[in-house]
């Protein structure tokens, strides 16, 4: 699972692109948005699978420990983000406004904008789908089995390579969607966003507890809220510091994250 997060860092760099190529027209809005979202997800997902096959699979077979894939992931990240950078000439790319940012109404003091709503609702839907996938489907169970005990899984006839590919695919899909939402909201993107967001993703996963999807969800939520409040009260420059201090405090009281399982159980 460790390598997955590194990959996420990488993928974020690239997915934005798919979004950019869509035109904004007034009508058939949903169709266009839908296509953009799906293509963003697919590109990321497939890219993610390819990365696994090229950069990590061999290391996994060789049982190389955790650091070699990490460095490989860093290399991949550089390759991908540099490719994007070269293609975009190192400049941010503005995405055409795909839709009116209409206000739908008020909720207490907060205004509700349509793009934010779409994002939140879609994210929840995707999350629900993901949870169902992991918990209820055969592949989902296979994924969990492999993550808990790869050897036993193999002995039970599970195709490890296939499962890992599927895991990366799913990860890529999610990341692609995230990228889509980001560009939808902020309307520009560049080759460098991946890094920062990737670190945020990693942090959110740690916060929620590695190995736990629900945890990742709450972790992400907590992180987002934390960042926003920290920015608000202390100014944006202290945002990261506050977040990390809180992270330390949380890990102190709950060394496995909010919901996580211990990475290394004390065995004897």
């Amino acid at each position: 699972m460790v390598g997955t997060f590194a990959t996420i860092i990488i993928i974020r760099d690239v997915f934005k692109f798919t979004q950019v190529s869509e035109y904004a027209t007034g009508f058939r809005l949903w169709l266009i948005l839908g296509t953009a979202l799906v293509s963003a997800m697919l590109v990321s997902g497939i890219l993610s699978m390819l990365v696994e096959m090229v950069a990590y699979r061999r290391l996994r077979r060789m049982n190389s420990g955790v650091l070699a894939p990490l460095i490989s992931a860093i290399g991949v990240s550089m390759v991908l983000s540099e490719s994007v950078r070269i293609l975009t000439d190192s400049r941010p790319v503005a995405s055409p406004r795909a839709m009116e940012k209409k206000f739908l109404g008020q909720f207490f003091d907060a205004g509700i904008r349509i793009d934010n709503t779409i994002i939140v609702v879609s994210a929840l839907i995707l999350f629900a789908v993901l949870i169902t996938f992991v918990n209820k489907t055969r592949m989902g169970k296979a994924i969990r089995a492999v993550s808990m005990n790869p050897n036993a899984a193999r002995l039970m006839g599970i195709n490890i390579d296939g499962v890992i590919s599927a895991t990366f695919l799913v990860g890529g899909l999610m990341t692609g969607a995230a990228g889509f939402f980001y560009t939808l909201k902020y309307e520009n993107t560049s080759a460098f966003i991946g890094f920062e967001l990737g670190i945020a993703a990693f942090t959110a996963a740690i916060l929620g507890g590695i190995g736990n999807i629900k945890g990742a969800f709450y972790g992400g939520l907590a992180l987002g809220l934390l960042e926003t409040y920290a920015s608000f009260f202390l100014g944006t420059q202290w945002k990261a510091v506050t977040v990390f201090i809180v992270l330390v405090l949380i890990l102190y009281t709950r060394p496995n994250g909010l919901f996580g399982e211990a990475l290394t159980q004390t065995r004897a």
Partner: protein
């Protein structure tokens, strides 16, 4: 390449004390003479060859040796090593510009500051393991940079300017552009660091770190005070990073938060893993290659970093244990003296 290492180890192990001193002296002489080899194929296009030797190469080597203690020997994933480099540099910057102390006087202070922060980071962080430790150390590295970016006393984004160069020793001047003298200074520090690491590796500390890396729980159950030695690893690694930072600041005359990014932590990490974790010579080689490479391939200009990334991926897949992996010199050991 494996045969080269084993052969080298064999030769070394079979020497008596005198033989070893001769070999070491020759090696040091060759390395010390590197600045004179500029103008050959070793030249780098844009940056001045000798300048590159100092930074990034020598600095990276020094830092890689430090980080190797933490990651390579003890198996602790530290993603925020640049923090100690920064602390050393800023100590030099502040004290150098605000007090009358010179570089040599500030060096021990900078090292002490770095070691102190190693304790501050280590004590809470080392209660965690694996990815959790990684993220905390990453955070620490970022926090140091952000604090430097936002504190007026540290110059915010402009950093600190006008940092004094070291005073001359034995009549040798430390002018801003006399790269050689810095190179040799760093060389001395590197030799000291190597001495320290090798010394400790052969004794209790080395065994403690190795046992922690391989099976920390078993180590604890067989009497190794794991927490203490983990913190020591952090502190020693930090001391080396801090020393590098002091010299860096003293050479470049001005420093800014942008010099101390997460990218550097990751780059040093790459040196350690790429070169061969745990093996000090591997780590040095890794640092030399990864420090040298980006400047050497500048002719690729735009695609420079992309190629660098590719090199990382390819190397790790070909040699996951690094170029010179850790491997006990089992075959070469004929007789060991019980020094």
């Amino acid at each position: 390449m494996i045969n080269l290492r084993d052969k080298g180890a064999e030769i070394w192990e079979n020497q008596g004390r005198v033989g070893r001193i001769v070999i070491a002296a020759c090696a040091i002489a060759i390395v010390a003479a590197l600045p004179f080899m500029g103008g050959t194929f070793l030249n780098t296009p844009i940056a001045d060859y000798e300048s590159v030797l100092v930074y990034p190469i020598a600095m990276f080597v020094l830092m890689a040796i430090g980080l190797n203690i933490v990651i390579g020997k003890s198996g602790l994933l530290d993603l925020g090593y640049v923090a100690f480099f920064a602390i050393g540099a800023y100590t030099m910057g502040l004290l150098g510009t605000k007090t009358g102390l010179n570089t040599w006087e500030i060096l021990p202070i900078g090292i002490a500051m770095a070691m102190f922060s190693g304790i501050i980071l280590g004590v809470p962080a080392l209660k965690l393991r694996g990815d959790y430790l990684a993220i905390i150390t990453l955070g620490f590295g970022e926090i140091v940079r952000i604090v430097a970016l936002n504190l007026g006393a540290l110059g915010r984004s402009e950093g600190i300017q006008g940092i004094p160069t070291p005073p001359g020793i034995f009549g040798i001047e430390y002018a801003f552009d006399s790269h050689r003298i810095y190179y040799w200074t760093l060389l001395i520090l590197i030799l000291l660091a190597i001495w320290m690491v090798r010394r400790l590796s052969a004794r209790r500390a080395g065994r403690a770190w190795e046992s922690i890396r391989q099976d920390e729980d078993a180590a604890e159950l067989l009497g190794v005070p794991t927490f203490k030695y983990k913190v020591w690893a952090f502190v020693l690694g930090a001391s080396v990073g801090g020393a590098a930072g002091v010299i860096y600041a003293s050479k470049t005359l001005f420093i800014a938060p942008d010099n101390f990014t997460l990218q550097i932590s990751i780059l040093i990490l790459a040196c350690v893993v790429f070169g061969g974790m745990g093996n000090i010579w591997g780590v040095i080689l890794g640092a030399v290659i990864l420090g040298y490479l980006p400047d050497r391939i500048r002719f690729l200009s735009e695609a420079r970093l992309l190629v660098f990334g590719l090199v990382l991926v390819i190397m790790m897949n070909l040699r996951p244990d690094g170029i010179l992996p850790r491997k006990k010199r089992e075959k070469a050991i004929v007789k060991k003296d019980a020094s």
